[in-house]
């Protein structure tokens, strides 16, 4: 899967900009925005594995983000009195979130495109309803008031506190997930995913175990959300059910679609645009979702392949008789 030369050059430029970025930021607030871009790009890359690579439209991705965040909150906060160190808690969260991906993915394996979308949406809603209601009879999630008093990340006794520090932590995670995504795409699993995306029956006929491949996509996609979730929880020092509404799933999905499903640079660009534009047009904040909805429609009508296209991709196939 050759990326066009200019896209690779642009990726290097963007990487360099990202590293020196905080020096140019006007204030700490903007460094926070940049940190959020990295966080969301990581999430979008996770969803991109499921939607972009394997072609499974997941409308409930925010469930994994929520599960990751809450798991981290359970493991490192005053809520249960557990205070696992960051470097231990994050891997545990990632593994458990990946497992939740398998649990949620398993029942959907036989479903076709739009049914799959609705079922994943249903799982997203159930997750939210559980988060908001599981404070009774036993207080697990803290209910509507969420969990506060979450430990900040600390490595070797050095606790992160400033946005710049978080930014570089998130940037490192983004670089890692980008690298992983790139390698996955070129791996055997990546080819299996692509085959499933283009034609599931044919993929099965080629001897691909579509069940395993789909579950791998769900698990790996969810694990990225586990990373994002832990980071969000440790950065906000608190988690609330309202962080994990359906609109958040759509927000992340739009990042993937805007940049061009499957295209890594595109996904990062999508995240950058969708996180930063509302900041730039703060006065127009009220119109954010309006524009967003319009954008999704216009994009599907005029440029369904996203802003950056993946070469050699046949997204739309003619339906005879249509």
């Amino acid at each position: 899967m050759a990326t066009a030369g200019w896209q690779r050059r642009m990726a290097w430029v963007l990487g360099a900009v990202a590293v020196v970025g905080p020096l140019a930021a006007p204030n700490d607030y903007w460094i926070g925005v940049m940190a959020r871009i990295c966080l969301y790009a990581t999430l979008a890359l996770g969803l991109n594995i499921v939607v972009g690579f394997a072609g499974l439209l997941d409308l409930g991705y925010v469930a994994f983000f929520g599960i990751g965040s809450y798991l981290y909150a359970f493991l490192a906060s005053t809520h249960f009195g557990l205070h696992l160190p960051f470097l231990l808690a994050v891997p545990i969260v990632v593994v458990l979130t990946a497992f939740s991906g398998i649990l949620i993915g398993a029942p959907t394996l036989r479903l076709r495109g739009d049914y799959l979308a609705i079922v994943t949406l249903g799982f997203g809603e159930i997750t939210y309803l559980l988060l908001i209601n599981l404070d009774r009879p036993v207080n697990i999630t803290g209910g509507p008031s969420g969990i506060i008093g979450i430990d900040p990340p600390a490595v070797a006794g050095f606790a992160l506190s400033r946005n710049t520090q978080y930014y570089y932590l998130f940037l490192a995670a983004l670089a890692l997930t980008l690298l992983a995504s790139g390698r996955l795409r070129r791996s055997r699993i990546g080819w299996a995913w692509q085959a499933i995306r283009e034609d599931e029956l044919a993929a099965r006929a080629m001897g691909i175990n579509t069940t395993v491949a789909k579950l791998q996509a769900f698990a790996i996609g969810a694990s990225f959300a586990g990373i994002g979730g832990s980071f969000l929880a440790s950065w906000q020092r608190s988690v609330f059910p309202e962080n994990f509404l359906f609109t958040e799933s759509i927000n992340i999905l739009a990042m993937v679609i805007l940049g061009g499903m499957g295209n890594l640079l595109g996904v990062v660009m999508g995240a950058t645009l969708l996180v930063s534009l509302p900041e730039v047009f703060r006065d127009l904040q009220r119109y954010r979702l309006l524009v967003f909805g319009l954008m999704l429609m216009v994009l599907m009508v005029f440029r369904p392949e996203g802003l950056l296209t993946l070469q050699g991709r046949h997204d739309e196939e003619a339906e005879p008789g249509a």
Partner: protein
Amino acid sequence: MAGVLAILPQQIVFGLALGTVYGLVALGYTMVYGVLFMINFAHGEIFMIGAYVGWWVLALLLKAQVGALHPAWVVPLMLLHAMLFAGLLGVGLERFAYRPLYLRGATRLGPLISAIGASIFLQNAVMLSQGARMKVYMTSLLFPRTWRIQIAGASVSLLVIVMIVVAGLMMWGLHLLVQRTKLGRSIRAVAEDREMATIMGVNVRRVIAVTFFLGSALGGAGGVLVGLYYTQIDFFMGYSAGLKAFTAAVLGGIGNIRGAMLGGLILGLVESLAVTFMNPAYKDVVAFVILIVVLVFRPMGLLGENVAEREKV
């Protein structure tokens, strides 16, 4: 337990009322799926906008001080406007957000994403133009609380009866339209074999637009009924109502018109009983669990998927 049993007949009647309305809204999903194989994700918003149009009709009547408002003419007036507006909105959506995609022969995800975009757009358009605060239906002016009927030990308000009758009549009307008329035959023909319908001389685009109009109009009527019943409406109400109506459609077998009605009734009853016997906070979970269980174990619904068993060629 005795307390629960005492309110049981009441809950069953509520469940029926809720169920017929779910069924009404579910028809919109099922009909559109029937002809286009797409989930019209924005249908919930069309339902919500129907509720707003009904609210406006009532509000304008109150403002104009036309005298005593009797439900016998006010409710039909509200329904008519809501249905017309919702129907035209549905046609507009079809024309600009979906038709360019299906003419290109786009695969399933494109139309679905476009529909999600339409849903978010409409929600926010209503929020920005009507305000984020909920609006209150002056139901008590139309249906005084004293208008109640005793049925099988349940004291039922007249409004609930009106809901069941209106929704029932509309479903029956649609059933006749689809089964007995030439227009209905052309809709079924397009649903079954689009190319063959073309060869018969059916204008497929027009039939799809008409289908959107009908489904959306029924959704708009559902919005008015729900508004009258719950008396509070807001720009977000279409989301969960839409999901539940979709669940009803799937439960009955999407694409199957009778199935949508049956699915609506079952969902309405289950939900109102769930509220009686368990923590109401999990009311919505019930609907989603039903949806998932049905899709996973019986993806063709209770009455069988009428249309989509044919895989894409």
